[in-house]
């Protein structure tokens, strides 16, 4: 189930919220656990068992560490079991097919590929559960003795499918005690509707444009169409993913949780490293905390720092999907970050912000080409057509697309900079403007419902990662 789906918004959500609000506080976590299970099994009626099993193992690993608090060996074994179990789940379900295919093509073998379907959200919930056992081992957090509370943390429906990657530490306090009042629920509703509009009204719409460009023949693709297409995708992926994160944060607030922010206007970034501090922030934070720092971070000299960065970005790329293009995409960013850190740091400082912002945006846009087009040959062909290898600047498709999508693209681009919100805040500060907000949200929600009802086109991009 995804949030932008009528069955979620008009069956699952109202029923879950009503039950959740109706029961006394001590049962609320249980409601979260069971609604989470229902939500997850809606998409994965069989794999839900795997998720429950992994939750159970992580819970038991936590209890074991606590029980043998003074025995470091046992604590370590418990941690290793939890980490190995989570990584093997990822390995088997996400990477085994890719690995077997790669080995087969490298050594000309024909090993059997079981082609396991990818359980939804596996990359998210394994990372979340691991944060618990690792932090517990590091004594950053205290043990969760209640299985229901721990299971509520892993399975609660707002974040199980597509993040943000909520660390146990982020919501440990709220699992024990949280305030659910009109203020929080009202804020949650605003954020949820905002995310819904981002996903349904903008991402889905510009996504249609990108789909038709992506499906065309790149050797005869006019330059303007190629640019238009990749700009559409650049906006699509931001509005899709950040819209989904907003919906998750909003739902969290309706339930009394404060999830961490996942996006901070990434397309305003001044450098690529700035971009990665603002894009999918919870994933970046996770890799920093659990991979980069343990490897030594940047404390052991240039060579080791470069090695560590490359490892982290190789893994970041791989996390996004079991395919070579994601690995190339990750390493591409690794190299850019290394160059920014060690080669161009002083140059970047001296350049005017406008220039570095353009450089960052272009770097990101080219990144999305690697991200989206799986085959390296097609990737190059697409980049070629952006620079006119087809010999055509534009055709009737381009004009048609400009006519149909330019307003949406412009609105999307301006919105992605955060400017409209800043202006709105300035105008409305100190005034009673909440009534106007409600009217705006009502229109946005009605429009989103209209598009959802109409849409046969409602793919969700981050499902496979």
């Amino acid at each position: 189930m995804v949030f932008s789906e009528p069955v979620f918004m008009f069956l699952f959500l109202p029923v879950s919220l009503l039950v959740y609000y109706a029961v006394p506080f001590r049962f609320k976590n249980a409601v979260l656990f069971f609604t989470g299970l229902l939500f997850y099994s809606w998409g994965e009626p069989v794999y839900v068992l795997i998720m429950v099993l992994s939750t159970l193992i992580d819970y038991l690993a936590g209890r074991t560490m606590d029980r043998f608090d003074s025995n470091n060996r046992i604590r370590k074994i418990a941690l290793v079991i939890s980490v190995i179990m989570n990584l093997s789940l990822l390995g088997v379900f996400k990477y085994s097919g890719f690995l077997i295919d790669s080995v087969n093509s490298l050594f000309n073998l024909s090993l059997y590929n079981p082609d396991l379907p990818l359980p939804i959200g596996i990359s998210f919930f394994t990372f979340q559960s691991m944060s618990y056992t690792i932090d517990l081992y590091r004594r950053k957090i205290t043990v969760q003795k209640s299985f229901i509370k721990f299971a509520a943390f892993v399975t609660m429906f707002p974040q199980i499918v597509a993040g943000p990657i909520v660390l146990y530490d982020d919501i440990a306090k709220e699992l024990e005690e949280r305030k659910i009042n009109f203020e929080a629920v009202s804020n949650g509703i605003s954020i949820f509707i905002c995310g819904l509009c981002k996903k349904v009204l903008i991402a889905n719409s510009v996504g249609e444009l990108w789909t038709s460009v992506k499906d065309s023949d790149y050797s005869s693709l006019p330059a303007a169409t190629a640019w238009l297409g990749i700009i559409a995708f650049t906006l699509q992926i931001y509005f899709d993913f950040s819209g989904y994160s907003d919906m998750a944060v909003g739902l969290g607030k309706m339930l009394g949780f404060n999830f961490p922010k996942n996006f901070d206007y990434p397309y305003n970034s001044k450098t690529v490293s700035d971009f990665w501090r603002r894009w999918h922030m919870t994933l970046g934070g996770w890799f920093k905390n659990y991979v980069y720092f343990p490897l030594g971070g940047s404390r052991n000299g240039k060579v080791k720092t470069i090695r560590n960065l490359l490892i982290v970005w190789f893994l970041t790329g791989m996390w996004h999907g079991a395919s070579w293009n994601f690995i190339i995409w990750g390493v591409y960013y690794g190299i850019l970050l290394i160059l920014e850190k060690f080669v161009f740091a002083s140059v970047i400082k001296r350049l005017p912000t406008v220039i570095t912002r353009i450089y960052t945006l272009l770097a990101v846009v080219f990144g999305w080409i690697i991200f989206e087009i799986y085959s390296p040959a097609l990737m190059l062909s697409f980049i070629g057509s952006m620079f006119g290898t087809s010999g055509i600047l534009y055709d009737s498709f381009t004009l048609n697309a400009i006519h149909n999508y330019s307003l949406t693209l412009i609105i999307a681009a301006i919105t992605s900079s955060g400017l409209p919100l800043r202006i709105w805040k300035k105008i409305s500060s100190g005034r009673k403007s909440d009534g106007l907000c409600i009217a705006g949200e009502a229109i946005g929600m009605a429009a989103s419902i209209a598009y959802l009802v109409d849409a046969s086109y409602n793919p969700f991009l981050y499902f496979n990662f």
Partner: protein, 373 residues
């Protein structure tokens, strides 16, 4: 604080009222506009849960019966208009008409279809073959449709076909359609009976008989509540509904389809249904035939056709003792093989241009007169 409470109340009202009306409201079983049966509530069982058919079923059920579904879709369409998308499912609104556009003429398929026609003609050298391509509304309004669409001219397309045909004579009725006052339905992709009449006059000249003048017919408006396929695609209620006309005479016909005989070419019952164009010949059939009792000498026509012919054929039927209608889109190979063009005085192939350029099954006609072993 007051506004916050208001927001919460409003939000919950919306997410409660919509499912209440969707699940408890009165249900339709068929969507005429989409030409489909609406989903039924799925049965919950261990199996349907495990293979997710329950989930997809519930999702379909919920979207199909969504409260105020068509109103929401209309709302979406008006938003699209505001943000500059003046096309809904490839349909444009021009001067109170809905116009379907066809952006991709398939020349490969066209070549294949024309070569099938040529081959059939070469196998039947003694029979006269006529190809009557019918332009679509897009051609009439081509100058008013956005230039950036760069739509291909259907006149050029007809010229292209002409240059490829061998032994088959093309009869271009475009001029006659252009000259008709109400050439196409405003809410449907078909041409009107008026256009068909004017085309009939032109075709008659070509075939060498005198067409009946309008005074020979009793022209009736059989329905003025026709909302056709283009309405279904856009749900645009601002376009007034269309009038369907029938040009009737007292001639007695026997219309045979699937071994069932009917005494009329017109089927009143469809006028009460959504698909009112099926008033003519009760819609499309693989093979059907029309016999005219008043003509004693044997004069037979083979008409290979699409739905555009349905309102056109009653005119021709006045002049032939028998017309066999073959719609290759709905024929089996066996049926097609059973048709032998050499048994007919003439063969007419009547298709609308865009349909012809995209019709995968057309080349089946090559099988005609072949053996069934």
């Amino acid at each position: 604080m007051k506004t916050k409470v208001l927001r919460v109340i409003l939000f919950f009202l919306i997410i409660l009222i919509i499912p209440a009306f969707t699940l408890l409201g009165e249900k339709e079983t068929v969507s005429y506009n989409e030409n489909k049966t609406l989903a039924e509530f799925p049965k919950l069982s261990f199996e349907s849960w495990k293979n997710r058919s329950f989930m997809t079923g519930l999702s379909d059920y919920f979207s199909d019966h969504f409260v105020l579904r068509e109103e929401f879709i209309r709302f979406k369409n008006s938003i699209e208009k505001i943000i500059g998308k003046n096309e809904i499912n490839e349909v444009f609104e021009i001067n109170g008409n809905l116009i379907q556009t066809f952006k991709n003429i398939d020349y490969k398929l066209t070549d294949r279809n024309i070569s099938a026609m040529n081959k059939l003609k070469s196998k039947n050298p003694d029979v006269a073959f006529y190809f009557v391509p019918i332009i679509t509304a897009q051609e009439i309004y081509s100058e008013l449709l956005p230039a950036y669409l760069n739509l291909e001219s259907e006149a050029d397309y007809i010229e292209y076909c002409k240059s490829k045909l061998i032994g088959v004579e093309i009869t271009d009725v475009s001029r006659e359609i252009h000259d008709t006052d109400y050439p196409f339905y405003k809410t449907d992709h078909h041409w009107t009976t008026d256009s068909a009449y004017n085309a009939y006059v032109k075709v008659s000249e070509k075939l060498g008989f005198t067409p009946l003048g309008t005074e020979s017919f009793k022209i009736e408006s059989v329905s003025d509540e026709f909302r056709g396929t283009l309405y279904s695609k856009t749900l645009n209620e601002k376009i007034t509904s269309d009038t369907i006309k029938a040009y009737k005479t007292d001639t007695e016909f026997v219309f045979t389809v699937k071994e069932e005989k009917h005494e009329s070419l017109y089927f009143e019952k469809f006028l009460n249904e959504k698909d009112k164009y099926s008033y003519f010949l009760s819609g499309n059939h693989g093979i059907s035939s029309i016999e005219n009792k008043s003509i004693s000498e044997k004069k037979e026509l083979l008409l290979i056709k699409d739905s555009y012919a349905n309102c056109f054929v009653p005119f021709l039927a006045e002049h032939y003792s028998k017309i066999t209608l073959v719609d290759p889109r709905y024929c089996s190979h066996t049926q097609i093989r059973g048709i032998n063009p050499s048994e007919y005085n003439e063969v007419i192939i009547l298709f609308n241009v865009s349909g012809f350029s995209q019709e995968q099954n057309f080349s089946l006609i090559e099988l005609m007169g072949g053996s069934n072993d």
